[in-house]
Subunit: 341 residues, 4 copies
């Protein structure tokens, strides 16, 4: 089969012909339809410090995807060939403290598809049956392909109550953009969104942000406070991974507020703990992956109830044009880019 | 009356003769017995940047104290002359969002006794009746004088469930020391304590810490992980206000863990958000002051039920010896120092 | 001034001429515009067992109302003559455990306007300044008059997270009807509503219920399970106060579900604790009054954000026609009935 | 092997010779050391309405037990022959909503060992590997045999914060008795216990109850209020399953209090919802089984930290004397009765 692989230690990826994987015990084989490119894939592509420390080539990449069940290992129940599924990329061990207490999304021995085991930018991918989320065929392939980042947005947004509250979303990558619509559906009465890219700010407006702030040219804290009678927001979703973004979020936060921290900084960040967190009695919650399987239930229910994330998908390309796809992502002018098998 | 005052802009304090204050509407006048010196008082004494930005001399200092009600303004109910009380130093506005939603400890217009209004290192102090917490005369004057920092310890410790869990307390000033005993009473099955002072580490042992780590000479994370089968702790109480302390706490924290952040850093701190917070799904909660009045109820109940914080009180001096008292505090060789009127 | 009073022990009410009240210390005098009739008022009107045990005539009735501040007692801040306000009918003592720990809505010494002290079906009412919630003049007098029951609906609905969840509202009096719209705004993906009155079921449809069940003629549990793939609902709002309603709600509830219990039964109710609560791991929460002041902030924010409760108001009558108004309420053919001064 | 079985529909049990079971896929075979008799076993013994509706004979009974792993099915990891384990009796399906959202203890398709599948009053029992909780050999066989009901006590007690709070335990069967010690370890400052049996009240005293009330002869609510300055308790653990017990608990409960409802009533119970739940803003939580696996972690940590439940074990008998054991249980004069293989 064809597959997008990191062939050896170094920048770039390669479209290669590799054997179809065999599903192991408790696994299923998925015929992949489409996959979304994640920021993580870009790290692997450019072969940065993190990628060098984590990826052992050769490795098939890709962890956001949808497809149909092609084969089911003996003893697996609840899935049949032909089922339409979206993939959960995090494989939990099932036996650590986190797994045994309802938090497998922060499993202490987590393995990630497309990183620690072969991924889904390929005609077929094998994975644990539990990681295949069966979905309604009414959900489009495009959306099914990005239920992983949609889940990140759902997880980050719904950790704190939003009804009748005001929210600031710092950083409008695909996850931040999807979070705008999710916050409104969850009852938020005001959603501000900030970014440094014109394209993304335009998408934020389209996703329904009540206030859009260009962090390059405007004073984010001042704009948000001005729009909230000086009071600030109740909830911040930090999705920029930047020191400045975090500072802006904490500056715009009301006393007693909540910050979901999802954006991964490339290095340590400086933070004004005294004024930003302690005096405010603020809560910061690290958000990683998707709650298994609450987030998936919530995401599915919201999609069925009218959540529309399609504006976030700006480009659809065949797998063969992966170079163009990664270039689009790198330029900051794209929302979500989907590769088709 | 005699009072310890900051007479004008500059280092040091002065014992002066000043008029007895008059209780305003809704206020009471307290005859002060004793007061505890707080790190904040040391900032005012040394006249550092924070003190210069906040204190308008002349100002009577001191906000940890106990005494008896000497006079009650007309219309005040629930307090009578002679009542034994401990003072809550934070005066909330009662009308902001935080005050109206059950969180006056993070009032947006907070005024602090001994900082923004005259304090309690004096024969008398006037303050809102609501800030006088009536206590059982069975509680000693020494302990009654430090129910404010005891409340900080209670607030920080009890924000997360502790029963059957493991805790690390980073920083063994008086608040950290008191927290050791509180964590054990709350059901913690393991309490580690770290500091950089020999005196304080010895006090930590005396307060019942299961593991005491000298952060100057030992690898805090390694020692705590070693003592917890490699798993780390469920809860961290960050009471050092140091960048290194926070890093140690996050390093010792289990996935899904909780960090109460109380120690005020002197400047911004660097933090490894990705590994310390996000991948762990950790919660960081800023802790400020005492929950009004849940913390006071809890502290009182624990004292009645056997909580003993007297080992933390290492020095008792008459007000006249305030210079010695501040010197002790500055040297790092004292626990809590109490001044007697 | 004219006022609707319970003149003495016995059924009925009387429109009487009484002196304008004087605001006491900390109070304001309100010029009343309009008031909503509550089920409680009907109990007082008919003089049932509860009313006989609680009301000491003569008493001016009415506790749902709006008006403008006419006079402010000395020392009261934050309110001025002319301010448009809606009244909170529950006067908390401010000193009990509940009041001191952020839960004054369940004050242990609660006094209710129109029940324990003179009420608002009168040209003027005096009450504590804290009980006057200043509102935007953009909110209509009709809606401002019923922010008390709207608050009950907000309180009951928002106690549990609703986003991406399914809800059943048992009982479609005005509070249940308003809750339908609130649940949808809070992100509920399915809202079923049940009642025994044709008028109310029609109003439930108009308020946006996804499923409307006539509890006299249909099997409530079966209908709700059928509409939820057999799974039942995540949240039940029990607003009927009937034994049958509670049983229906528990029957329709999913394992691990939440029940907000607001409807006041006239007597003890039988409940299947084993199957309805214990085996399900269900949570039942008693809902009384409005959280002070979180509920008011939430209700105001939702109204500003488009919450429309006007369909619930079916009748508007001058105070003089109070007999007709109570008759309408008694007949079960009305939604909310408003009396105009 | 020998096994205690319900041979056919009718009262009584029989000691029989049956084949050793074979562990299926994902299962282990346990060599049983000892088992505790549960109230449920007594229902099966007496063949009451519930037993008739649920049990399909022949069935080996018993679900509280400990033993060692004798055999491990292929593919099972984390357990080896010789491991000392305590059995979790509830087998969750792993695929329903409850199982997928961290609440397998309220699985919608739960199967119970000794009820829906063969149990542990036998030389060997086969069960899913996940249901075998590996324990420290330092824990005695007696205690290891009753970690199931200990888990019920832990689950019920720790659902609400207990530190600095007051608790009433209604019903002093083995679970209630163990809860007394757990509440104290969790920081409760007052624990009242009620029952109708002299033996059990004496055990309650021995387990450390601060107040012991004989519900046959004393006014439970009055006694508890008297002991709590009239304020009542913050938390009630309802473990009697009796209508009167629930009424006593609600009567003793403070506004805003919490009730863990574990005791299974034999029929519907009457409850004063208005005064007991609604006006109080009380929370009632149904408690069933043990949280998987948080409760097990907590129970194990508490045992290691000094929790002593051995006084609750009043009788130890060989399996052959099962008739005497059931008689002891029926008489109400025993605490926990353990059968030895």
């Amino acid at each position: 089969m064809k597959a997008l692989i990191k062939p050896d230690a170094g920048p770039g990826l390669e479209l290669a012909e590799v054997p179809v994987p065999r599903p192991g015990a408790g696994e299923v084989l998925i015929k992949v339809f489409a996959g979304g490119i994640c920021g993580t894939d870009l790290h692997i592509y450019t072969w940065d410090a993190w990628a060098r420390s984590r990826i052992v080539p050769p490795r098939i990449v890709g962890h956001e995807f949808c497809g149909t069940v092609a084969e089911v290992a003996p003893g697996v129940t609840g899935l049949s060939p032909g089922d339409f599924i979206s993939g959960e990329g995090h494989v939990a061990c099932g036996r650590c403290h986190a797994c045994r207490t309802g938090a497998p999304h922060i499993c202490e021995r987590l393995a990630v598809i497309g990183i620690d085991r072969d991924g889904a930018f390929a005609e077929y991918v094998a994975m644990p049956a539990a990681n295949a989320w069966k979905i309604d065929p009414s959900i489009s392939r495009d959306v099914a392909a990005i239920m992983d980042p949609l889940g990140n947005a759902v997880h980050a947004a719904l950790e704190a109550p939003l009804v009748a509250r005001r929210v600031a979303i710092i950083g409008c990558g695909p996850i931040g953009l999807m979070a705008i619509a999710i916050c409104h559906l969850a009852g938020a009465v005001f959603v501000a969104a900030t970014d440094v890219s014109e394209t993304r700010l335009a998408l934020a407006r389209r996703m329904g942000a009540d206030l859009v702030v260009d962090a390059r040219r405007e004073d984010v804290v001042a704009r948000i406070r001005e729009a909230t009678s000086g009071e600030g927001v109740d909830v911040v979703l930090e999705m920029s991974g930047s020191e400045r973004g975090l500072a802006d979020g904490l500056g715009a936060l009301r006393n007693g507020g909540w910050v979901s921290v999802l954006g991964l900084p490339a290095a340590d960040v400086r933070i004004d703990l005294a004024n930003g967190v302690i005096f405010k009695g603020a809560h910061l919650a690290g958000i990683f992956g998707r709650k298994l399987w609450q987030t998936w239930e919530q995401g599915t229910a919201l999609l069925r109830n009218g959540l529309d994330v399609t504006p976030v998908i700006t480009h659809r390309l065949p797998l063969e044009r992966f170079e163009d796809a990664f270039e689009l992502l790198r330029s900051g002018t794209a929302g979500k880019v989907i590769l088709y098998l």
